[in-house]
């Protein structure tokens, strides 16, 4: 009985951590960018302040929207939360079964489906533009994600994230394909969460946006939910990348949690560095970068099966 | 009884010729047809039906073809009064007697055991159908009649030549020269070989012309294109079957003489040629009646192909004889109705028959599905039997060609039929014609027979076809 209780407790802690930390990640990214630009930058907890502010504001819905517009942010948050429950830490994930990697990827697809639908519901040209771009580019990102998962699955001989990210003892010949997979997943991470090479998070020129323009018409708690969902998605994907990069042996849970947080910090800093160093790609070149990510992970598969 | 089958229609023909009233004369047709059908059924039930000392005898083959001609004539006779009432401007003083004379001669062909007498009967049908074709009395029907008459007569002359060659074959072999079918079959093995083959070729071309096999089919599009519905049905259904009967008699003699292989190769070749010609000339055909003529050429080809394949193919061909006759009845009569309603035979002016003539249009479409061998209808059964016989008896190439030809004909014909039946009917110039009971009921009757033959082949008919097949396909 004792073991189930501690297990349940660690699951609750796991979910709580995954639900609370994401805005902090955004704070770290913004601070690294500010440091690069020689600015002081917003406080680390700015994310939480925004969420609280938005939660208290009133909301305005345009005449052309329907209930789907309100459902957009809700589905975004729900799917990201469930995906969070799938990511293992210290060898254990609150929710895991054979084949949950496919569910993990499809949950993000569901979130995306409703976000795009909500954008189209407003009936504005900009939202339509963002929706079209998001739908096309994410379609190109999906194969890269799946190739990465397949490489991990092939090594762990199972399609469950828990088995994939905690096997730890990868044969030396697999390191080459793992490096490729990490690179590919990092690109997918940037593409999915509207980071610099694909989309500038804090630009205000709607014509260039992809993600921000889709949540243009949301206000108040709905906008809060949308932003929170996006940050949770970033956090979860980053956790997966870290899970591959730092395979902590089964040791104590504390050690793996510390490794995860350190990893996340490193990923946040990396994102900040990439955003400060690179400029936004021209929209025409985005597909070629995504295809490059697909080729990287596909090449990983071919290397593996040698 | 056998004599009655020929004499009764002749008496009615004479009566019709004498009867003055234009209105009551057509009613003679159904009466005579009913009488003829009754006699036929009685003849089928009784064992041996003979007359004039063996000159007229109903053998197994005749027992199959006679009911076909009789049923088809009965259906046409029900259709005729309604149709002729619509054509008051044309006098039927020549039309009705010729129809009755046509029926008499058909019965004579089926029953005559003497090949010379049979020839006389076939020539008589040619002459009887000339005025029938000429019913419309316009420039086009003159041309059609002239072509029909001339090619028909030349063909028949060749048939007479072939008959004499056959008799000479017997003379050459030192036997008595008798043109009786039973004698020739008995003497067949001893007939002199080259005369027998030459005779079969001439007879095949002669009676093939009457059937409309390619390359002797050239009169069909003209004749069927211009003939009224009834005449088209009788020519395509009854006359073709009788000519096929004559052909089978000679095939029987040649098979008994041991030359079946040569005859079957000739038949397969001509059968496939006829189907090919039909397929080719049906593409982009603008006149739906001429299209029916090519469909008749195709089905005559199938009949001969079935015999050529042999084995179960013979059963298939004879069953197809029945199916083809009845289906052609449906197609020609419904095409006749559509022609009456729209006043034109070209596809460009005839659209939306389903909307304007719901019954005739639907029957025409159903007839198209039947004639191209779709399962719920009769012809599918016989064509499937022929295809199966071809494949199982090692003639896979013939079977494959057969199926391909069916597909080509389907596409060629489908385009025309759908153009006629579907769509919105153009503003009609002649309000007169609507679907009426007496012009639609006979077609529905024939269609019911086609569907029945597709689903359940009644035992007596099956016995008739089996006996006929046994009669034809003798194992040398």
């Amino acid at each position: 009985m004792g073991r189930q209780v501690t297990g349940a407790l660690s699951d609750v802690a796991h979910v709580a951590a995954f639900l609370l930390l994401p805005p902090l990640l955004l704070g770290v990214i913004n601070r690294t960018k500010a440091a690069f630009a020689g600015r002081v930058g917003p406080p680390y907890l700015q994310g939480y302040y925004d969420l609280v502010k938005l939660w208290r504001k009133g909301s305005v819905f345009s005449t052309s929207t329907s209930w789907v517009f309100k459902a957009g942010p809700v589905v975004g948050v729900a799917t990201a939360a469930l995906a969070a429950a799938l990511v293992p830490v210290a060898g254990h994930a609150p929710l895991s079964f054979e084949g949950d990697a496919i569910l993990f990827a499809s949950l993000f697809a569901l979130g995306r489906f409703f976000t795009i639908a909500a954008a189209l519901d407003t009936g504005s040209a900009f939202e339509g533009m963002g929706a079209a771009r998001e739908a096309t580019f994410s379609s190109l990102a999906e194969p890269a994600l799946f190739f990465g998962l397949v490489v991990l699955g092939r090594l762990a001989r199972s399609l469950s994230l828990e088995a994939m990210l905690t096997s730890g003892n990868w044969p030396p010949r697999a390191t080459a394909s793992l490096v490729l997979v990490i690179a590919a997943l990092f690109i997918v991470l940037l593409a999915e969460n509207s980071r610099i090479p694909f989309d500038d998070p804090n630009t205000h020129l709607e014509l260039t946006m992809i993600h921000e323009v889709m949540v243009l018409d949301h206000g108040g708690p709905a906008l809060g939910a949308a932003l929170y969902g996006a940050s949770l998605k970033l956090f979860v994907l980053a956790a997966v990348v870290v899970g591959i990069a730092l395979p902590v042996p089964h040791g104590s849970p504390w050690l793996s949690w510390v490794a995860l947080l350190a990893g996340l910090l490193a990923v946040a800093v990396a994102i900040g560095v990439v955003e400060s160093v690179m400029a936004r790609l021209r929209l025409v070149h985005v597909p070629s970068l995504l295809v490059a990510a697909c080729l990287l992970s596909a090449f990983g598969i071919v290397l593996l099966a040698r | 009884m056998a004599l009655a089958l020929v004499v009764v229609p002749l008496i009615f023909a004479a009566a019709a010729a004498v009867m003055p009233s234009q209105r009551w004369r057509p009613w003679l047709l159904p009466v005579c047809a009913a009488a003829h059908l009754a006699i036929t059924l009685a003849a089928l039930r009784s064992q041996d039906v003979a007359a004039l000392g063996g000159w007229l005898k109903l053998d197994d083959l005749g027992r199959l073809v006679l009911p076909i001609a009789s049923v088809l004539f009965f259906a046409c006779s029900l259709y005729a009064p309604g149709y002729l009432a619509l054509r008051p401007e044309r006098s039927n003083r020549v039309f009705v007697p010729c129809l009755l004379f046509f029926l008499a001669m058909n019965s004579l062909i089926v029953e005559s055991q003497h090949l010379g007498l049979m020839w006389v009967a076939v020539e008589a049908t040619t002459l009887a159908s000339a005025p029938l074709l000429y019913f419309n009395h316009n420039a086009r029907s003159i041309e059609a009649t002239w072509k029909y008459l001339l090619i028909g007569s030349v063909g028949i002359a060749l048939a007479l030549f072939g008959t004499f060659f056959l008799a000479y074959a017997a003379l050459r072999a030192g036997l008595g020269t008798s043109l009786f079918f039973s004698d020739l079959v008995r003497e067949a093995p001893r007939l002199s070989r080259p005369w027998l083959l030459a005779a079969f070729v001439l007879l095949f071309v002669g009676y093939g012309t009457k059937m409309g096999l390619a390359p002797m089919h050239t009169w069909k599009p003209a004749a069927y294109g211009e003939a009224p519905g009834i005449v088209g049905t009788l020519l395509a259904g009854a006359l073709t079957s009788c000519a096929f009967l004559a052909l089978l008699r000679f095939y029987r003699i040649v098979a008994a003489g041991g030359e079946a292989a040569f005859a079957r190769q000739l038949m397969i070749g001509i059968g496939l040629l006829s189907m090919a010609v039909a397929g080719v000339f049906m593409a982009r055909q603008r006149d739906y009646k001429r299209m029916l003529a090519y469909s008749s050429v195709e089905h005559v080809g199938i009949l001969v192909l079935g015999i050529g394949i042999g084995g179960a193919g013979v059963f298939g061909a004879l069953l197809h004889l029945v199916n083809n006759a009845v289906t052609k009845g449906v197609l020609f009569l419904s095409a006749g109705n559509i022609h009456r309603a729209y006043g034109s035979k070209s596809i460009d002016d005839v659209r939306g028959a389903l909307r304007r003539l719901p019954f005739s249009g639907a029957l025409f479409l159903a007839g198209f599905f039947a004639v191209t061998g779709s399962p719920p209808f009769g012809p599918f059964l016989s064509e499937f039997t022929i295809a199966r016989a071809a494949m199982t008896s090692g003639q896979a190439v013939v079977g494959a060609l057969f199926l391909v030809m069916l597909a080509i004909v389907f596409i060629g014909m489908g385009g025309a039929v759908l153009a006629v039946t579907q769509g919105e009917p153009p503003p009609s110039r002649r309000e007169g014609f609507r679907d009426r009971l007496d012009t639609v009921a006979p077609i529905v009757l024939l269609m019911a027979v086609v569907v029945l033959l597709g689903v359940y082949v009644p035992a007596p008919l099956n016995a008739l076809v089996l006996n006929a097949a046994a009669f034809v396909d003798v194992k040398p």
Binding site: S59, V60, F61, S62, T63, S66, V68, K70, A71, V75, V77, A78, T79, L82, I102, L103, S106, A117, L120, G123, S124, G128, A131, A135, T136, S139, L140, E142, F147, V150, R154, P221, A222, C294, I301 | L150, G155, P194, F200, F204, P215, M216, F262, A283, R284, F315, P358, S374, P375, P376, F380, F384, A387, R388, M391, L403, A407, G414, G423, L466
Partner: protein, 662 residues
């Protein structure tokens, strides 16, 4: 057995009654619909019993050309029969109110053909003898042709009907050739004889497999033979497209499976089916993106889903070839589950499309928009169906997708080397196809239901009557049941896989039941979470301060024309992802001359181009035939010359034979 015959009799009888009462539309459609529902119910009972193992075959003698007829139900037939019957009953009810609400025209014949179509589908599924199969198969083609051309006053309906008829006939000719060759080899026309016949030598088996693939491929819509599918679905009334897409296509797959049971299993079947499946899926979805007609997009999506099912079947056969029952079980479960759920999903979507057509008067996406507010129920169900068919988690489409991906992965694990790499790359390709499917359906939903109405018809759209919504709800409930309880489909798939692939595979299928139950519970969890969060957010924003038009960056007078249209939404995808050969091709007629002459811009889907290729082929041959026409148009004398030629040729040949013979 008596239930089956009773069901066929009820279907045929009620159809005839409906045809006779054709003048009183309400009465005849009521008779037709009631007959269809009762007929389907009667047939459902033996079908469900057969699924649980109560199989039977009954034979009786028929007139000679038929020989001995046999019908029977085994698990394979029952597995296909159950969804077909459910969809047929629902479509019949929907059809009645759909047609009564439509243009005034005699509905009797339509009800007759509908019931005959259902009867012929049942006949095909229960046929145990080649003649019965052929009669059922062709009757199915004919009746569905007559149903597709219900509104044959429109030119494109006639064209669609003609293409469908020709395709059906080509398939029928291939089926006749297949059966005749089999009969020739097995010596009898009965399926039992086919099963126990001597092993045909390899080349005959290959020819038979090719013929079976062509005959059933036409009906199932495999890619090179799919041409009739989008045309027929766009032209047919919606409940007919639902029935065709849901049931008719599946019967094509049934025919393929039944044919493969007769032949000795060859190792190349698995990979071949997988490749065919991928081609179909990729082609289908790449075309569905670019369609501006709602029903044509759904039709292409059917081609994609048939592709997925084929991939599942391919995995199953590959698993058998690799002697890995676990892989085969995954493939069979993927194919079986996705087949059942596709019947419900696609049926629902087509009925929704019918409801949209009824409410908004048009199927052209460019003229729709804002239907969510004006037709809430239809919009909700269309959205529900779209999420399901796009393979997104809480609903049953995802379960099928999940199983296919796991099947591919298991196949990759079972064998090393090149096939493993191919399978793993296949997973990525399937992910791309799934993503494009999501894009296609978010486009359909976003453009048709959301935003502002793009035309007066859409502006005046009204919700459909209960007669239409009821059947749609039934199908939606079916989808929901399969999503929340996927395990209910496990037993039928296990029995179906048991017959096709053996007991070991059936056991493995049952072993997968815990995985399905977890998936079901997760779906319920997702739904629960959505409801909770939705309620929380709704409570928070209960009193919206004001309801202005969309902000649109301060533009004062937003109009419906500013919205993204269907083609602009898909333009980015078709220009980057879809290869140029398959992308829609703009057809521009530039204005010529000084004064503005009529100019036009049209963008044609790749399939229209393929259709033109077929038409060009037939036209070329028709021209060649027409050029032979002079043979008939010559003078009378030439005709006589033909006869003379024939006589001389035949005489020469006979005398040659005579000498050779002597």
């Amino acid at each position: 057995m008596t239930f089956l015959v009773a069901s066929l009799a009820v279907l045929a009888g009620s159809g005839l009654i409906a045809a006779v009462l054709s003048r009183w539309s309400r009465l005849s459609t009521a008779a037709g619909a009631a007959g269809a529902v009762v007929g389907c119910a009667l047939a459902l009972r033996p079908a469900l019993a057969a699924l649980l193992g109560e199989e039977f075959v009954s034979r009786w003698r028929w007139t000679p050309p038929y020989g001995e007829l046999a019908i029977g139900l085994d698990r394979l037939s029952a597995f296909f029969l159950v969804p077909v019957l459910v969809l047929a009953a629902v479509a019949a009810l929907y059809g009645r109110s759909y047609l009564l609400a439509g243009k005034r025209r005699p509905l009797g014949p339509h009800a007759l053909f509908f019931n005959l179509l259902v009867a012929s589908m049942v006949l095909v599924l229960v046929a145990r003898e080649s003649m019965v199969l052929l009669v059922g198969w062709e009757a199915m083609s004919l009746t569905s042709f007559l149903l597709v051309t219900f509104e044959h006053e429109r030119a494109e309906v006639r064209r669609a009907g003609w293409i469908y008829l020709v395709a059906g006939q080509m398939g029928a000719i291939a089926l006749i050739a297949f059966l005749v060759l089999l009969i020739g080899h097995a010596g009898a026309t009965d399926f039992a004889a086919f099963q126990h016949m001597a092993r045909p030598d390899p080349w005959l088996a290959a020819v038979l497999a090719a013929l079976a693939l062509m005959a059933c491929g036409v009906k199932a819509g495999l890619v090179p033979l799919h041409l009739w599918l989008p045309e027929a679905h766009a032209a047919a009334p919606s409940h007919i497209s639902a029935l065709m897409s849901g049931a008719l296509i599946k019967i094509g797959l049934y025919g393929l499976l039944r044919a493969l049971t007769f032949l000795p299993p060859a190792p190349w079947w698995g990979p071949a089916l997988i490749v065919l499946g991928f081609i179909g899926a990729a082609f289908g979805i790449s075309q569905a993106l670019a369609q501006r007609d709602l029903k044509r997009a759904l039709a292409y999506s059917s081609i994609e889903n048939v592709g997925l099912i084929l991939v599942g079947l391919g995995i199953a056969y590959w698993g058998i070839a690799l002697r890995a029952p676990a892989v085969a079980a995954l493939g069979a479960l993927a194919a079986g589950f996705h087949l059942w759920s596709h019947v419900f999903m696609k049926g629902l979507l087509f009925l929704c499309a019918g409801s949209v057509l009824h409410g908004a008067g048009t199927r052209n996406l460019e003229a729709l928009g804002g239907l969510a507010r004006r037709m809430p129920w239809t919009a909700a169900m269309l959205l529900f169906g779209a999420v399901a068919i796009a393979g997104l988690p809480p609903l049953n489409g995802f379960v099928g997708e999940w199983l296919v991906l796991r099947g591919l992965f298991a196949a990759a694990m079972a064998r090393g080397g090149a096939p493993a790499i191919a399978a793993m790359l296949g997973i990525g390709a399937l992910a791309l196809i799934a993503a494009l499917a999501a894009l296609c359906f978010v486009r359909l939903v976003g453009i048709a239901l959301l935003g502002n109405a793009r035309s007066e018809d859409a502006e005046r759209a009204h919700e459909s009557p209960a007669g239409l919504l009821g059947p749609m709800l039934v199908l939606a409930a079916g989808c929901a049941a399969l999503s929340l309880r996927p395990a209910i489909a496990l037993a039928p798939v296990a029995s179906f896989a048991g017959q096709l692939f053996g007991a070991q595979v059936a056991a493995q299928v049952h072993a997968l039941s815990p995985a399905l139950t977890t998936l079901g519970s997760i779906s319920t969890a997702v739904v629960a979470m959505l409801i909770v969060l939705g309620a929380a957010l709704a409570a928070r924003v209960s009193r919206p301060a004001a309801a202005p038009p969309t902000w649109d960056c301060g533009y004062a007078a937003p109009s419906a024309r500013m919205q993204y249209t269907a083609s602009s939404f898909a333009q980015l995808a078709t220009s980057t992802i879809v290869p140029p050969a398959l992308a829609p091709r703009p057809v521009v007629e530039k204005p010529r001359g000084l004064f503005p002459a009529p100019a036009a811009f049209r963008s044609e889907g790749a399939d229209l181009v393929a259709a033109r290729w077929y038409e060009a082929f037939f036209a070329r041959w028709a021209d060649r035939f027409a050029r032979l026409r002079w043979l008939q148009e010559v003078a009378l004398q030439a005709y006589l010359f033909y006869v003379l030629l024939m006589v001389v040729a035949a005489l020469a040949w006979s005398s040659l034979r005579g000498w050779a013979g002597k």
